[in-house]
Symmetry: C2
Subunit: 259 residues, 2 copies
């Protein structure tokens, strides 16, 4: 178990692109001025893992060499597993903040449901620890994330100071340009994947299928993450772990009331 | 592609315990009187997979022998993958209903976020198809699910007739007894996992860790799934794919307004 100095803010960092991804390396460097950073992240990429947890297999983790004073642990698990392992086996106390990312590719709209990056933040929200997932609406593998430094630091600092409501975390996405115009706190936009599979034939003459698709936004409202991103702003969506469709409870009661 | 009779209701069935699990076998038999049932389910157990989708690997599926007139396809994918494959590669039209389960073990409270069973239903909600996930608050591997037949049929029939609001599905859990007292439409209860890992040493003297824990409900409210289940009722929670914490948008705006 890692002994931490309780006088210092403790920041747990994870991601879903794997511990060697550029996004997490930038994130670590951005967060170092804010407190003691400890990294617990998957050893390999875990994109699209959603909130998967490892139940049927045991988990392993190992301590990697300290890098610029930062303790780093790689695990065989998913992003959600990483948070559980960190809280139970690695850290000696609750972190002051959990930060996940920076994901290469956006996690706005319904993509939050598929996102391992956001699962790590949601796992933090389940434990009532202020948690933030950062993603980048950009797919350039050589991207320099430096332009995000100041905003990441400001959002993290404000969140550590003021906390978040219980069961809530933040889904923060950066627009696809290097100079965000500002921050918009907004709601998740309505969208869907127009999907298909590409059928291919393997060397044994058997078919296999690759998922592919285009993401379509139907939402014209200006108070959404999609609108913010497409207009050059950072989107911040407060996310709840309560999936109840509260506004439809009465409708469903009426639909089922004769049963 | 499977040619279906458009005069008949088309019901797509999946699960996360795998195509040979007892729960899905009972579910199929319950649904046959309501329409044409087509099963597309993982070839093996996928518990705890959450809303994982397979992006970095190709998928495969195969048609199994028809059983009691039911077409069955097993896939190498997760429950969410199964719904995507069914919609894109197997069915010739949108199903009238998607039903997932019956899961062995409950998916009430925050467990919905870890549940592959519910991911299949949520995937249906993303495509605006009426979708229901059924789970059983019981862990007896020899359980006879027959007592659930009438309620499963009634809930499915009402939902096919009346539909569900866009982006909404139902999370239905059966209590741990054979005679439910009735149905309660309610909200997701607030709870958490008090978790730990059991550390063991493998034959090569290396440590590995098994996740284990107890589920704790903090919620005393009577309008919750946990209250319904513990008092012998079937819980029905309408579930949304919008994870925005709408009631906290203003708070977060204030917290970040100086940035």
């Amino acid at each position: 178990m890692l002994l931490t100095n309780t006088m210092e803010k403790l920041i747990l960092v994870s991601n879903d692109d794997g511990i060697d991804a550029p996004g997490i390396r930038f994130l670590i460097s951005f967060l170092q001025p804010l407190g003691k950073v400890v990294v617990v992240a998957p050893s390999t990429g875990m994109s699209g893992m959603g909130h998967a947890v490892t139940i049927s297999l045991p988990l392993r983790f190992k301590k990697l060499p300290t890098e610029n004073g930062v303790e780093r642990y790689s695990t065989s698990g998913t992003p959600a597993d990483c948070i559980k392992l960190a809280m139970n086996q690695i850290l000696d106390r609750k972190p002051d903040l959990i930060v996940s990312g920076i994901n290469h590719g956006s996690n706005h709209s319904i993509n939050i449901l598929y996102s391992g990056t956001m699962a790590a933040a949601i796992e933090g929200a389940m434990q009532n620890i202020p948690s933030i997932g950062f993603s980048m609406f950009n797919y350039d593998t050589n991207l320099d994330f430096s332009f995000a430094e100041k905003s990441v630091q400001e959002i993290c600092k404000a969140t550590m100071e003021k906390g978040l409501p219980d069961g809530t975390c933040l889904n923060v996405n950066f627009p696809d340009n290097t100079y965000p115009k500002g921050i918009k706190v907004c709601r998740q936009s309505i969208g869907y994947w127009n999907e298909g599979f590409e059928k291919r034939i393997d060397v044994h003459e058997k078919p296999y299928y690759w998922l592919k698709g285009d993401f379509i936004i139907l939402d014209k409202d200006e108070n959404t993450d999609d609108f913010a991103l497409r207009n050059g702003f950072i989107s911040v969506v407060p996310v709840t772990i309560d999936l109840t469709a509260h506004k439809h409870i009465e409708t469903i009661k009426q639909q089922l009331n004769s049963l």
